[in-house]
């Protein structure tokens, strides 16, 4: 193999602080992002348990909850003010502080340099800055539970005027300000990260790593970074203007003639719909920021565990790119009920339905990859297959909701909650689990417990369907998305039993995640040592040590000779041929010498 790079960073000496806390190593930053996100997932998940507790058992007394949130409970029952704050924080934490940070920040950081054969990101210092904006954002967000009025309560979409007028609801007082500041910090961190990812993929690929040899997981991260780079500044602009409206007396989003607490609001002339446009111009690409990285992860795991090449690599790259592009043209489908001109609504319907095409291409690709394969059912593989199932279930309801006529009925009902919890939330979560089970050996050098992993999968898979599937029916029956209790209206009383069922399923789902937490921590401490390539994978990250050393590749960067999906190649001795293995010239069907081409 061609020896390329001479100097190595492996001898670089580091103190504990520069190595594990203020580290500029992309692997450490990736793990920091992942671990912090998992902690936030515990918080966001706990908040969802509070939501289900209230909706399933609105008449029960919850003594422990009043002890935990003295401001949010009275007489051991949740205050109606507190419920929307919990919903808001659950949504905000899960979307921005768990899934975006874990999938893009965690896996993106860890995998991009390793899969392209680079020693690190293009801008390691910027990368460290990107992570270190995240903990302050968390602190600011969580502190809002403790300030006067409590946490923000205008929903994760923060629609004005609820979010713009400081006396609209208790959470609008200080909680909303902290929410906006926290998000602004996080956005800057995301922009640093995506700048880094794009530059790295453009410029630091190893010799021979053409774009058409890039693993799909890296393609997905690359396109996600482009999405983030172009959509988050728009939310940033909106956040700045909303902060101005709240604290500096401007009227960008606040209309004339509002009366709050029998006092006329002094702001006038603003337009709250503007916020919706700006928010969803980010908001829709954001859901693809959440789903593209899992698509890449799942493609990788499905191919690897089917021991077959991915069915249509070019079509996968093409459909990922098509989704990236189309996601900028569909934001209006979140606003069909905002008074939008029907013609505009129809245009947004068409672009939205178009997304079904690349989505279907991907699903058929995954199914064709599985077709007649000798499947290896690892925990990661189970979660990857589960991802396909959840994505299809949620995607189909997306086709309904894309039609304005249907959406106007379903707007802000539990049908929408069911839809996005399948297609975006739990599908992305399955991508996160699949990726964690798959790359854990590379991250920590130890294997996770497969038996616990499979138990975790089945409980989670059944739990997700039991929790979210009935929500379709609740929504069809008219249950509102952010309603505080099924006892509010006569017509919702009939749904009390269903909500109790959903809550019990959700509690089971929540408890099942403790298995994952135990497995993660236990395997980290005393899991069996992993060798370099436990899954017999082709991609570059598996050709170095587990965990990879600082600088990733020892003395020499790898040279890439083939695409990443040479599984079960006819005539080869092994059923996988790593990307570093050169082609054997002019000897048909010759055995491939595996030791050759390894980058040490």
């Amino acid at each position: 193999m061609t020896v390329t790079h001479d100097h190595t960073h492996a001898e670089h000496r580091q103190s504990f602080i520069t190595r594990w806390i203020f580290s500029q190593d992309h692997k450490v930053i990736g793990i920091q992002y992942l671990m912090t996100s998992l902690l936030m997932a515990a918080i966001g998940g706990f908040l969802s348990m509070l939501i289900r507790m209230q909706l399933g058992f609105p008449t029960w007394n919850f003594y422990w909850a009043q002890w935990l949130f003295p401001g949010g409970f009275a007489d051991f029952k949740m205050k109606p003010d507190f419920y929307p704050a919990v919903v808001t924080m659950h949504g905000t934490i899960m979307v921005f502080f768990v899934l975006t940070t874990a999938l893009s920040g965690g896996f993106g950081n860890f995998l991009i340099p390793l899969t392209i054969g680079a020693r690190d990101m293009a801008f390691p210092f910027l990368n460290m800055m990107s992570y270190w904006l995240y903990p302050p954002a968390i602190v600011i967000l969580l502190i809002s539970f403790l300030v006067t009025g409590g946490a923000a309560a205008a929903g994760w979409t923060a629609y004005p005027p609820l979010s713009a007028l400081r006396n609209a609801v208790p959470g609008s007082l200080w909680g909303q300000t902290l929410w906006l500041v926290s998000l602004a910090l996080l956005i800057v961190g995301f922009l640093f990260g995506s700048l880094n990812y794009i530059t790295t993929v453009f410029n630091l690929r190893a010799r021979g790593m053409t774009m058409s040899r890039l693993p799909l997981v890296t393609w997905a991260q690359f396109l996600t970074a482009i999405l983030m780079l172009l959509s988050f500044p728009v939310l940033f602009a909106a956040v700045i203007m909303l902060l101005f409206d709240r604290h500096l007396g401007t009227s960008f989003f606040i209309p004339s003639g509002l009366v709050v607490g029998s006092q006329l609001v002094t702001h006038q002339g603003g337009n709250p719909i503007l916020w919706q446009h700006l928010f969803w111009f980010l908001g829709h690409p954001e859901v693809y920021v959440l789903i593209l990285p899992p698509m890449g992860i799942v493609s990788e795991i499905l191919s690897n565990n089917s021991r077959k090449p991915i069915f249509g690599y070019t079509f996968m790259v093409g459909s990922l790119s098509a989704i990236t592009f189309l996601s900028f043209l569909v934001w209006g489908h979140h606003m069909f009920t905002s008074g939008m001109h029907p013609l505009v609504g129809t245009a947004f319907m068409v672009t939205t339905l178009l997304i079904a095409v690349p989505s279907a291409i991907k699903v058929f690709n995954w199914l064709a990859t599985l077709w007649r394969a000798q499947i290896r059912f690892t925990s990661a593989m189970l979660f990857a297959i589960g991802f396909v199932s959840l994505f299809v279930t949620g995607g189909l309801t997306g086709v309904f909701l894309a039609s304005p006529a249907v959406d106007i009925y379903f707007q802000d009902t539990f049908f929408v909650v069911a839809h996005f919890h399948f297609v975006m939330a739990s599908a992305a979560l399955f991508g996160l689990f699949a990726g964690t089970y798959h790359w854990f050996p590379k991250m920590f050098g130890r294997m996770m417990n497969e038996r616990l992993g499979k138990i975790h999968f089945w409980l989670t898979f059944v739990g997700i369907y039991a929790t979210f599937y009935p929500m379709h029916f609740a929504g069809t029956a008219g249950m509102m998305r952010r309603i505080f209790s099924t006892t509010q209206y006569e017509f919702l009383r009939g749904l009390a039993g269903m909500n109790m069922f959903i809550s019990v399923a959700a509690f089971g789902l929540g408890i099942a995640q403790l298995i994952f937490a135990y497995n993660f921590i236990n395997s980290w401490i005393r899991g069996p040592k992993a060798d370099r390539n436990p899954w017999k994978s082709n991609t570059l990250e598996w050709q170095t040590e587990s965990p990879p050393p600082h600088g990733n590749w020892g003395a020499h960067e790898p040279t890439v000779h083939r695409w990443p999906y040479d599984y079960s190649v006819p005539g080869a001795t092994d059923d996988f041929i790593p990307q570093t293995v050169p082609a054997v010239p002019a000897v048909s069907g010759a055995a491939v010498d595996e030791s050759d081409g390894k980058p040490t």
């Binding site: 053409t210 058409s212 009227s251 040479d566």
Partner: protein, 215 residues
Amino acid sequence: MTPTTAPTLERKRPGPPGGPAGPGWDRGFGQPDRDRDGDAHRVPLARIAVWLVVATVTLLFAAFTSTYLARRMEPDWQTLQMPGILWLNTAVLAVSSFLLEWSRREGLKQQLPRLRAGLIIATVLGVVFLAGQILAWRQLAATGIFLASSPHSSFFYLLTGAHGVHILGGLIALFYAVGKTRTTGSVEAVFEPAATFWHFLGVLWLYLLVLLFWI
């Protein structure tokens, strides 16, 4: 879709090192086949990064623009008189940009003292521009027009403020470049991205001026 073929005959093309290739539709994208024996052959990372920054900032101001265009349709819209000092500021920023380009060309001719002189004057003019912007704010405030006075004044302060923050970032890059020209002879990697960003900010300023006062 040929990649599934056995690793037999290596196709002879001036492409990446042998083996079954991917679809091959990306030849020439980036520089995957470049010589990696040293860093000299790489595109400077900062040159890629600066264009990505330009893209992000463009989207930021696109968001402000769409809000501006929608907001000015409301009945309470009144356009401010443009503060006269903005003409002067615009001229200063334009001269700064032209000087930067002149010094870049001198640099290409290895006229390093001229490059340095042009760079320093351009940077100083950048500081003057920022001071002029603050003066424009003070003049407006003296006539009783503040951030919350009218929708147009809100946008004026918001957009000039956001532009000013980016000018500050551009100045930091230029100061960094000035420092680099003192210590090293090679300035390309620092100078060019800083200049690109500075020119972008100049164009952005012209755009904002047109947006705020001429449409």
